[in-house]
């Protein structure tokens, strides 16, 4: 049976928000480039910065599609990635029921919201590996694992070529941390759904 949803949902609209300086735009750029240059899809990036790149709210809007993209702005994101409370509050009213919401659990407190969300302590994990600035790469890994919108190989290669020379290995490590966390989280949810919460039945 043909999956109707599949033919419609060939376009994915991703909004990444956070503070200026967190590397929000770079994360968006990596996701878009991975899709366009390595996964053979189309993608666009609209970035908002300026005064924001010194600490205000900042966002990247990435569209990934199998077909030519005619309009790069996003009104209702399919995936919303939030790395700051202000970014979250700015975009949370735009989400749909089907929106995939990813947050940095230490920086964003979602309160009562109607949809399910995936949380990762990205900034804390980045601090653990010694580079707070790599939280965006951890988040990119997390996005790759949870959303399945770009391939692992494409994402990894793009991370390696997009970061400053000499920091590739550490960035890949950060990416893998986020990716592994995402997979572990999915696995945990699957297990919980099957009623297997602990190790001892």
């Amino acid at each position: 049976m043909a999956d109707i949803n599949n033919t419609i949902a060939t376009t994915t609209e991703v909004v990444i928000t956070g503070f200026g300086g967190q590397g929000i735009i770079l994360a968006g750029r990596i996701i878009g480039k991975a899709a366009a240059l390595r996964d053979g899809k189309e993608s666009t990036l609209v970035q908002s910065y300026g005064p924001e790149s010194r600490g205000g709210a900042c966002s990247a809007q990435v569209v990934i599609s199998d077909k030519t993209i005619h309009y790069p702005y996003i009104r209702r994101p399919d995936v919303l990635v939030c790395m700051s409370q202000s970014g979250y509050e700015k975009y949370i009213d735009d989400i749909k029921d089907s929106t995939l919401l990813l947050i940095d659990e230490d920086l964003v407190h979602p309160g009562n919201i109607k949809i399910d969300f995936f949380a990762i302590p990205a900034t804390r994990m980045a601090e653990e590996i010694g580079r707070k600035m790599m939280a965006n790469i951890i988040m990119t890994g997390f996005f790759t694992a949870i959303s399945q919108k770009i391939s692992l190989a494409a994402a990894k290669d793009t991370v390696a070529e997009s970061v400053p020379k000499g920091t590739e290995a550490l960035n890949i490590k950060a990416f893998s941390k986020g990716y592994d966390f995402g997979l572990a989280l999915l696995k945990g949810r699957e297990k919980k759904a099957a009623g297997k919460i602990g190790a001892i039945a």
Partner: protein, 526 residues
């Protein structure tokens, strides 16, 4: 045909009178039965019950006095327990428990005795020969290294006579007249026959604390290991604990025809994949559990089961070696190099046949032996050996798991094989920090400086081992903890043994749990 070998341990008192009457009557006692007259069935401990099987007996009978008629009161009860435990071990080994039976007779029951002996013979013939050959294949013993070679290869001459080893040695500090430095000196001087050297070689705990402290980096435990091999080849043995039961057990496993059944019963919730290239190696746990069944009530198998549950928790479904044998650690450390190598060879061949790529083990001794001692003794290990804690650390650090609060104040006993030999004292601590204890408090001597649980390799256990255990448990209690976490099955067995002391017991007693089990009990998906 008289090829079956059956050993009959016959109590001197009641049943012997019945047996004698049979002999007087020239009754047709089956010729397969070799009778050994013993003072009391209660004195035939598990190691004596088992020894004939190591030597190739097809059946063993223990015949004592009927309940209530034991001259010493408790003989029959003790015999019942020992037989029960040994039978279970035979079953685990795949030798079948029916090969060992206990019965009791009164002096005036010769006919019943004869009937029983005949029935037993028939039963054994029906089961068939033991897979353990009675004639050990003349095994070419390798020429062991000469004393001079052992001394030079371990660079004993580098000893600066500083005495740091002796001042750190837990055995010396427990009050035993034992000194690694003096021992090294005597051996260099060629004085290897003296009682103090003989005693010293077999008393060393091989815990490695002296090696840790030695400024010349003389690997003393390794040296002791080689000296034990040297003496063993000269038929000089140490005092093996538990009557040498465990060494006997391991030597029995060197027979290729032995097909162990140690993995036969697994709890239903554990998933195993026979085709997996990742193998979980369990070690001797089930044998220990049966052996100490009536004394300590230990449950080392739980550690293995909880390890498997944790692997399953992380979606790792390993295979197990259906015919797993002991890794040989204790044979190696009591000088039996030949049988160690046979065991290693059989284990490795079995794993090779399955195409195993990775072996996971929770036992620090198995870990040490598989990863270090096999290659060290020229046995090729064609797979990666990983300690369970490494797997746990990797998987847990991926995130998305949490730990329930333990509600316990905990302290930790290091394993010498993991914390010192492998230099991984940080590994269990990383995991301990993830747990949520009320308080985690270390004992004064910890990590690579931790003191021994009192014994290694089932040899040389004495009152000083006990003193050492008492000291360690007092340290553990002094931290104010109510739970002692261990990482090695032997630590658990030895420390629990000290808690059985009728005088000190209450003073030393505390809950003991393996780290793996603690993690399995508290971990959950977030």
């Amino acid at each position: 045909m008289n090829s079956f070998k059956i050993i009959l341990f016959l109590c001197n008192w009641g049943p012997h009178a019945a047996f004698q009457e049979l002999q007087d009557k020239r009754a047709d006692i089956p010729a397969e039965i070799k009778m050994i007259r013993i003072p009391c069935s209660g004195r035939i401990n598990k190691s004596l019950l088992f020894k004939p099987f190591e030597m190739g007996a097809d059946g063993v009978l223990l015949i004592g006095c009927s309940p209530g008629s034991c001259r010493y009161g408790s003989g029959t009860d003790i015999a019942t327990r020992s037989t029960e435990d040994t039978r279970q071990i035979l079953e685990l080994l795949g030798l079948k428990k029916e090969r060992l039976q206990l019965n009791t007779f009164l002096p005036d029951e010769p006919d019943a005795l004869l009937q029983f002996l005949k029935n037993f013979c028939e039963e054994i013939k029906a089961i068939g020969h033991s897979p353990v050959p009675s004639e050990k294949q003349e095994h070419k013993t390798e020429e062991s290294a000469s004393l001079a070679e052992i001394i030079s290869s371990h660079d004993i001459y580098a000893c600066q006579d500083c005495g740091k080893c002796t001042s750190a040695c837990p055995l010396t500090l427990s009050g035993k007249p034992f000194s690694p430095r003096a021992l090294a000196g005597s051996i260099i001087a060629g004085d290897i026959e003296s009682p103090s050297v003989q005693e010293g070689i077999w008393s060393c705990l091989t815990c490695g604390l002296c090696y840790d402290r030695c400024p010349s980096a003389v690997n003393f435990p390794d040296f002791i290991q080689n000296m034990r091999i040297f003496f063993k080849n000269k038929d000089k043995n140490g005092h093996e604990s538990h009557g040498g039961f465990f060494q006997s057990l391991m030597r029995t496993m060197t027979s290729p025809a032995v097909n162990t059944k140690r993995w036969e019963i697994l709890p239903e919730d554990i998933r195993i994949d026979p085709d997996s290239k990742t193998l979980f190696f369990g070690g001797c746990a089930p044998y220990f559990d049966k052996y100490f069944n009536h004394n300590l009530g230990v449950s080392i198998s739980n550690t293995n089961m909880d390890s498997l549950r944790l692997l399953n928790f992380f979606d790792i479904v390993p295979s197990v070696l259906s015919n797993e044998r002991c890794c040989g650690h204790d044979l190696l450390w009591t000088g039996d190099l030949d049988n160690f190598k046979i065991l290693a060879g059989l284990n490795i061949d079995a794993m090779k046949n399955l195409g195993i790529e990775q072996v996971i083990t929770t036992c620090p001794e198995c870990y040490r032996t598989l990863s270090h001692d096999y290659p060290e003794h020229g046995i090729d290990v064609p797979f990666k050996v990983t300690h369970m804690y490494d797997i746990l650390e990797t998987e847990i650090s991926k995130g998305a798991v949490e730990f329930k609060e333990t509600g316990k104040k905990i302290t930790f006993q290091d394993s010498c094989r993991l914390s010192r030999f492998a230099g991984r004292a940080d590994l269990p601590r990383k995991l301990l920090q993830r747990l949520k204890p009320d308080i985690f408090k270390e004992m004064p001597e910890t990590g690579s400086a931790a003191i021994c649980c009192g014994n290694t390799g089932w040899t040389g256990c004495d009152s000083h081992s006990k003193a050492l255990q008492a000291k360690r448990l007092r340290q553990a209690r002094a931290t104010g903890s109510d739970l002692l976490i261990t990482s090695c099955p032997k630590c658990q067995i030895h420390l629990k043994c000290a808690m059985q002391d009728p005088f000190l017991g209450n003073e030393l007693s505390m809950d003991v749990m393996d780290l793996t089990s603690m993690i399995a009990k508290t971990i959950y998906w977030k």
